[in-house]
């Protein structure tokens, strides 16, 4: 019956997953897409989850990997089409970006401007309240790395938010 437990636990995790996704993706639309893709992948692999282990950590790993893949793909696309973009109507690209930024609000913008790994550390520890050790395990980095990303992320945020 552990499979129904998986589904029950995953459903209970949805609000947290959405926060994760919004945090990682720093844009509401991208965040929703990322969360949906994560749920699909998690369901597809649900038989690999070991009942009794931390489901949040397991799903977070999936989401994190999906996001890394996505950012790599975007970087490749940006490099490939860099030349063409110069010819695009500035208004279109600018319009969507401005919209997204307005949606984000002040804090969202500041978060979005952080490097991914600092933003990740800030979200797991400051927003979700994971202990340093837990957060480091979920990310898969040494605890020292986590704390240094956390310090830098906080400093950067306080500077940006302090400015406004």
């Amino acid at each position: 019956m552990s499979q129904t437990r998986f589904c029950d636990e995953l459903t209970a995790l949805l609000p947290k997953l959405r926060r994760f996704a919004r945090g990682l993706a720093h844009d509401a639309a991208d965040g929703e897409d990322l969360c949906q893709a994560t749920i699909e992948r998690a369901l597809k692999s649900r038989h690999q989850w070991q009942d009794g282990t931390r489901l949040d950590a397991w799903v977070y790993r999936i989401m994190r990997n999906l996001w890394i893949d996505e950012t790599r793909a975007r970087t490749r696309r940006a490099q490939t089409f860099a030349v063409e973009e110069e010819g695009l109507a500035v208004g279109d690209a600018g319009g969507r970006a401005v919209e997204a930024l307005i949606e984000l609000g002040h804090v969202g913008r500041a978060l979005a401007e952080l490097p991914d790994e600092q933003r990740e550390a800030v979200i797991l520890v400051l927003v979700e309240g994971y202990a340093y050790k837990e957060a480091a395990e979920m990310i898969g980095c040494p605890m020292g790395t986590l704390t240094s990303r956390l310090v830098r992320g906080r400093e950067a945020l306080m500077r940006k938010l302090g400015e406004a």
Partner: protein, 239 residues
């Protein structure tokens, strides 16, 4: 004591033990700069949480819960099917007692070449069918299941199958199996290595009987014959 940025942060995040926390609190009360840093840090945390609380207020897309519910239904169906299958196997046909829930297919045991088609061996091959012969045929014809243990060949159970014919499950030193009576003799429907067999790497001791009984249960249309019924069937030549 000197309070580094990391220590202050760790304190704010509740990562420090009691003793260290008290010392930092002492340092903070002595140093207004530290107190300001701590306040700024706590304000940042509140700011961040407020931002995500606003996100929490938005309704979660129904599609997500629906995807999960779909998976749950799938899994429930699979579990129900498996449970039903196992319950059927366990119930078995009345009169057989608690059956053994194992896979229905039996592995055809290793047949030593010398067992088949030698003059006095227990097996003969005829037109693609394996028939009992010699001592095996004799035992099938005459030996009752009630025969005491220690006999070279032991009858486990006799039963009728769907077509009305008689079958008998047996186990012996050389081989074990299930044979069914036909016009031309006893056809071997199942064969497994006997108790003397070396092939224990894929078979646990004692499992042969369990497998045979499970197979017999699936073939049978009625409970196994009792001694009186066996005697009657034997008298009629198992026809």
């Amino acid at each position: 004591m000197e309070v580094t940025r990391e220590m202050l942060m760790a304190y704010a995040d509740g990562e420090l033990d009691e003793v260290t926390s008290r010392r930092i609190e002492q340092a903070i009360s002595d140093d207004p700069d530290l107190a300001r840093q701590l306040d700024a840090d706590l304000a940042l945390k509140a700011n961040l949480r407020g931002h995500f609380a606003a996100i929490d207020d938005e309704p979660v897309p129904e599609a997500w819960a629906a995807m999960i519910a779909g998976a749950r239904d799938e899994d429930t169906r699979v579990v129900e099917l498996n449970d039903a299958r196992q319950a059927r196997a366990r119930r078995g046909v009345p009169g057989w007692g608690a059956g053994v829930a194992i896979a229905a297919s039996l592995v055809l045991g290793v047949l030593l070449g010398t067992q088949v088609n030698t003059g006095d061996g227990p097996l003969i091959e005829k037109d693609g069918t394996i028939l009992a012969s010699a001592y095996l045929e004799k035992a099938l014809d005459t030996q009752l299941a009630a025969k005491p243990e220690g006999a070279r060949l032991r009858m486990l159970a006799s039963f009728r199958r769907d077509d009305g014919g008689f079958c008998r499950a047996f186990t012996g030193e050389a081989l074990s199996g299930i044979a069914c009576r036909a016009e031309d003799g006893w056809h071997l429907e199942r064969l497994l290595p006997g108790s003397r067999s070396q092939s224990t790497q894929y078979r646990q001791a004692g499992s042969t009987e369990a497998e045979l009984m499970a197979a017999a249960q699936e073939m049978a249309s009625e409970p196994p014959l009792d001694t009186e019924q066996e005697k009657a069937a034997r008298a009629r030549g198992w026809r």
